[in-house]
Point group: C2
Chain length 135, copies 2
């Protein structure tokens, strides 16, 4: 059983690597937020650039505080609701540091028993302006 667990453990370590490589290979800005605490669990470099700070500094900080005039409880509830709503599916906010309007597309999932939000952020405007913004 120990050996089986270790083998399984190896294959799961694999997923950690895959997760990290995918996070940095994609062009989308991604932030993972713990719903209970509202804190940033992880984010990629593209997302950190949009929020206007280093990824290390943002990890563990309150996600709500990165946006202007948003209250924690309400904002998180809005994101969770948008995640559950196939039709709307997004909410907009202005970043606190760079005053950039972003559309946030959230997905809710459970990992290790904790409700987690994956937020894809898009700089507001057309597809072209997003592409320009990110390069």
């Amino acid at each position: 059983a120990q050996l089986a667990l270790e083998k399984d453990y190896e294959s799961h370590r694999d997923y950690e690597t895959r997760y990290r490589v995918v996070m940095e290979a994609v062009r989308d800005a991604l932030v993972l937020v713990d719903v209970a605490s509202g804190r940033v669990l992880d984010l990629n470099t593209v997302a950190a650039q949009i929020l206007g700070a280093e990824a290390d500094a943002l990890t563990g900080s309150a996600f709500t505080q990165e946006f202007d005039g948003r209250r924690r409880g309400e904002f998180l509830e809005e994101l969770v609701n948008a995640a559950g709503d196939e039709a709307a599916g997004s909410t907009t906010a202005k970043t606190r540091r760079g005053k950039v309007e972003v559309a946030i597309y959230p997905t809710v999932f459970r990992a290790a028993g904790e409700k987690t939000l994956l937020c894809r952020m898009e700089v507001a405007g057309s597809q072209e302006s997003v592409a320009a913004e990110l390069t």
Copy 2:
């Protein structure tokens, strides 16, 4: 030690979930290829749509065979070389099923000791045509 391993195991299971959620939340087409065998380890729905088949059917199949007139060894070598080349960084190919020209942006990494390619695929043309193609 068993308990510590199990706790660590829990946190790694977490990464498997994160990996799967991120793969499907992003707009980029992503394929993971085992370099030694050339087989598709995993891909997301966007990538399966570009290749013109179901993700389940493509998993485990030879990645090279999804493109017209490409030989396995050469194609994989080209991808690995492009991954190591900061300047070029991409290669083009035509999908076998849909005859779609795609640019492939590869990244090489090691997971569980195996050399793995993460290929981001973009339908050839402008940013706008890519966006149109994917919607």
